[in-house]
Amino acid sequence: MKTFNYHSTKDVKEATKLASSSSAFLAGGMTTIPSMKLGLASYKDIIDIKRIKKLSGIKVSGKSVTIGATTKHAEVANSKEIKKAIPSLAALAEGIGDPQVRNRGTIGGSIANNDPAADYPSACIALNATIHTSSRKISADKFFAGMFETALKKGELIQAVEFQVPEKSCYQKYPNPASRYAIVGVYVAKHKSGVNVGVTGAKSCVYNEKNIVSALSKSFSSSAIDNVKIPSSGMNSDIHASAEYRANMVKIFAKKAVDAC
């Protein structure tokens, strides 16, 4: 690992002030630190935000669940309030990585990284999330910009993620047998305002699967998906799964999700 300056701050303003083009915010460090150790990334300044109290915690109101950026996956998974309000969200957090990752990794870190196979981005899409940053609010459909790309600007810090409580929802994933990241993960949510189908793992970036959304909007049942055609163009293809296989799994896992809603 290359040497760097380590800053630990208790304040959002100070954190954003320290940020530069060669800095990184450090929360759980579940991606940043391995990348640095492998020499894939190096930074002049590492700004540790774990001690900023207001970035951590869970708030549940009737309509929404708001999770602070440095809240750990294990806290989400074990939150009684979340289990009651959006059980599928707690279940998603329970399925991320392994116990070590869940006790270090954070929701803010996950969505800021926007790994194409990460779980949380699909929840953001399905649950009409609003991402609260140090300077603004961004809706999930505008936040995830591409592979490892988000709408975040330099020095902009995620403070919390606000999820809309749906009528029903479920997340189902087919994990990569090696990494256990999603080869395909499908988060189906039915809101009063409509249905969302957040799909992760399948393409270079999380997306709302409109073909399934329109089928489910007509009839919210797994059989409604039977005749939906999911094109394989634009799907990821690698040694673990071809584009065709992924396209089929999007459908299969959407059906599983609807059945389990």
Partner: protein
């Protein structure tokens, strides 16, 4: 005293290993320590035009930067192929030079180009980025079955062919095939695997300029072999000036049998800079540069009669050796593979033809089972296919062809001393509830799943030795084993063994044997291994040999101890030696209550005289002390065998295959410690099922390793497995007094075909390993299509 052999003694070594008190090579740090980082080739194949170390040499903390030119200048010898194989035409195998640091060309991604030695690892690693290597990149040869049609990697090795080896009789096979009712054919790929020992390889060499001695700590299954190779072939130091210590080692699976470039370079560099040099491989380096396993492309045929009788077998295999011929790289696809390829069956005629090829990939060498998994996979998939095509029950066709009389002269090489294959298969069918299978299959169907069942009946040749045989087949070393049993004056015992434990539990098993032989409590016996300065030369641990060969050496050394003890006891008891019997730790005078314990006798041996109340007369002509050694070279290999039955359940929607039920009935001869043996079987099964369903080492067309981390290389995990049903039958080996046969590799040998036969039974079609979800899903789609067409 109750016998310890056969009892479930908990592992003595576990407390240390499970509480973090083990001592591994990476834990060893010397005063004045330096740290090495290797500059490795990023290309699969390239000429080295220039290596510029000027910037790196000046970087912070750098002590030395050494390159292939320094290796040449210092006349450091290359890494060796330990087993000479001759081609069918009588010509010798062709092997390329394998310098520890390359000076002319690099031949796989990860090949060693230079080493940077610095005051800290970070400084070494940062400086390594400053070593500028000018490469002329060449087209890589990657695929096993294309190697012979590709450019020659080495100019003296046409078609990249190391050898074209034949075992067996082509004419007899042709005759058998001509008389057959049916010929069953398979085309198989035995997928390349990465060994993935839990502890990555490491070395720490400490040269003492005043004594000119090197102490090398290393992750070795075989420290004595490392010493002799680094001395005699690499020429780093004379054998008496090189001490090799393999302390606790976290698994090997074959990949740590022999020294690699890193140990040679660290030892040589330490001598050069007169400071200790430490290298600890990271996981990426393990993936890139540990020797890989398997990687065969095979076409095999079985000639049968309509009643299921086997008439003949042929096996045409291309084996990938990787970029260089590694120490056991050439024997693994030949003598460890070919002889076992006819399986546990009477086979009137057979041959195995193996073409071993070089490619621009990491060297391939022995990996748990080494050759026997590939052989067993070939014959067992063929046999099951034969049963399908003949409409026979898979158990029935096997039993029809089992030998029933032992010793059984197997078709190609081995004389199998003992076995009862029918008993094993019958027991497996009972434990697996074969009768209830059809009901379970229907239950799965009701749940929308496809169930399949697969068999594997195997034998293997292990306990590797005997020296006379292996050397006549081209092995450059003997394969006997040594032991030294040393009574300490106060009556406890240290046993030195030439084998090495890196997870196998020798500290326990070997102590059980010595405790029974000597009548000394288990806790009074220490097993010492892994240090060439302690105990006699030995040949290490691999090929399921330690207990059968090394354990027997302990028994023989104990026999000598008892023989001497009898003489001393007779003198002490003032009777004739012929009147003394030894039992349960006591020398007893027949028909009397006179006796001496072995502890008293040991004490007498160390204090031979009279001192106050101590009166310890030694017989005339006897030397003081009580220490004996033995070198055991068995007359034959040992031949474990067994019957495994696997049931899988496939989800046709996703193609995921779950191992629903797994039964393994093995005959390992005498079992010393069932607890440890079961652990060995579990580990072997997991690795074998891993090969069948998950693991696959994948290089892209340019020779880049795509599966270079756990993000892409699928290691099997606990939640991939059901509870294994294990059982044992026992026909003791006749080639050693313990009657043991070896259990370390059987699980990895038997399980790939058992699992794949179950998958193919479910799908009704051939499918290659690993049976990944997508492959299985595609087969399910085809099955659906053909079913709907049929309807």
């Amino acid at each position: 005293m109750a016998s310890l052999v056969g009892s479930r003694v908990e592992r003595k070594e576990d407390k240390k290993l499970l509480t973090g008190r083990g001592k591994y090579t990476a834990d060893v740090t010397f005063a004045h320590q330096t740290y090495a980082y290797f500059v490795r080739s990023p290309h699969a194949r390239a000429q080295i035009k220039n290596v510029d170390i000027s910037k790196a040499a000046k970087a912070s903390g750098v002590v030395a930067v050494l390159t292939g030119k320094d290796i040449v200048n210092d006349k450091i010898g290359g890494l060796i192929a330990g087993w000479r194989i001759k081609s069918e035409d009588g010509s010798d195998m062709k092997v390329p030079a394998h310098p520890p640091l390359a000076s002319e060309s690099v031949n796989y991604v990860g090949d060693h180009v230079a080493v940077v030695i610095a005051e800290s690892l970070d400084e070494a690693r940062n400086a390594a980025e400053l070593v500028k290597v000018d490469y002329k990149v060449l087209k890589a040869v990657v695929k096993t079955d294309e190697a012979m049609k590709s450019d020659s990697i080495y100019k003296d090795i046409p078609k990249n062919l190391c050898f074209d080896w034949l075992l067996g009789d082509r004419a007899k096979v042709k005759e058998a095939f001509d008389g057959a009712d049916k010929i069953i054919k398979v085309d198989l790929i035995n997928n390349r695997l990465v060994p993935n020992a839990m502890e990555p390889r490491a070395a720490n060499a400490d040269y003492n300029p005043s004594t000119e001695e090197i102490t090398l700590y290393t992750t070795s299954q075989n420290p004595h072999l490392a010493r002799i190779i680094i001395s005699a072939f690499n020429g780093v130091a004379p054998e008496n000036k090189l001490r090799v210590i393999a302390p606790d080692v976290g698994g090997g699976f074959g990949s740590k049998i022999y020294p690699y470039a890193e140990e040679v370079v660290c030892s040589w560099a330490s001598k050069k800079i007169e400071r200790p040099v430490k290298w600890v491989g990271d996981r990426t380096e393990s993936f890139l540069s540990d020797c890989h396993g398997r990687d065969h492309v095979t076409h095999a045929e079985l000639a049968v009669k309509n009643d299921g009788t086997f008439l003949g077998f042929k096996n045409e295999t291309i084996a990938n050796l990787g970029a260089y011929a590694s120490v056991f790289g050439t024997v693994t696809p030949t003598y460890l593979f070919g002889p076992c390829a006819t399986g546990v069956y009477k086979m009137p005629a057979a041959y195995s033809n193996v073409k071993a090829v070089f490619t621009n990939t990491a060297p391939v060498d022995a990996y748990r089972g080494a050759g026997r998994p590939e052989a067993t996979y070939t014959i067992e998939v063929l046999v099951e296919k034969a049963a399908r095509e003949l409409g026979m029950d898979p158990a029935e066709i096997r039993m029809k062809n089992f030998p029933t009389e032992f010793p059984f002269q197997q078709t190609l090489v081995h004389s199998v001393d003992s076995g009862d294959y029918n008993a094993g298969l019958k027991k497996a069918m009972e434990v697996a509830d074969y009768k209830g299978y059809e009901k379970r299959r229907k239950d799965s169907e009701v749940n929308g799943k496809i169930r399949g069942i697969g068999f594997c009946t195997y034998f293997e040749a292990c306990g590797i030795a005997p020296s006379a045989v292996v050397m006549s087949l081209g092995c450059g070393i003997g394969l006997w084993e040594s032991a030294e049993v040393r009574f300490n004056p106060t009556g406890n015992v240290t046993v030195f063994t030439g084998s090495h434990s890196h997870g196998q539990g020798h500290d326990t098993t070997f102590a059980q044997i010595a405790a029974d032989q000597l009548g000394v409590p288990l806790e009074n016996i220490e097993i010492s291994h892994g240090d060439t300065d302690k105990g006699p030369f030995g040949y290490g641990t691999y090929g399921s040999r330690s207990l059968t060969v090394g354990g027997t050496a302990i028994v023989k050394a104990c026999d000598k101890i008892i023989a001497k003890g009898k003489k001393v006891a007779a003198k002490m008891l003032e009777v004739n030696e012929s009147d003394v019997e030894f039992k349960d730790g006591e020398f007893i005078v027949a028909k009397s209550n006179q006796k001496k314990t072995i502890g008293e006798v040991a004490f007498a041996c160390y204090l031979p005289g009279t001192y106050g109340e101590v009166k310890s007369p030694l017989p005339e002509g006897e030397e003081p002390g009580l220490k004996e050694s033995s070198f055991f070279d068995p007359a034959n290999f040992s031949f474990p065998a067994g019957s495994h039955i696997c049931e899988v359940e496939i989800d046709p929607d996703t193609g995921t295959t779950e191992v629903a039920k797994y039964t393994a009935i093995d005959d390992f001869g005498t079992i010393i410690n069932p607890l440890i043996v079961e652990g060995q079987v579990h580990g072997g099964l997991v690795q074998g099922i891993g090969q069948a369903l998950y693991e696959n080492c994948h290089y892209d067309d340019s020779g880049q390793l795509i599966t270079a981390s756990y993000m892409d290389y699928t290691m099997p995990r606990a939640d991939n497995f059901p509870e294994f049903k294990l059982g044992f039958t026992c026909t003791p080996a006749t080639s050693n007094p313990l009657g043991t046969k070896g259990c370390g590799e059987a699980g990895a040998i038997a399980s790939p075909p058992a699992v794949m036969n179950a998958v193919m039974n479910a799908l009704g079609t051939d499918i290659s390993m690993p049976a990944t979800a997508e492959k299985v899903w595609n087969a399910c789609q085809k099955m659906k299509k053909s079913n709907s067409e049929a309807a």
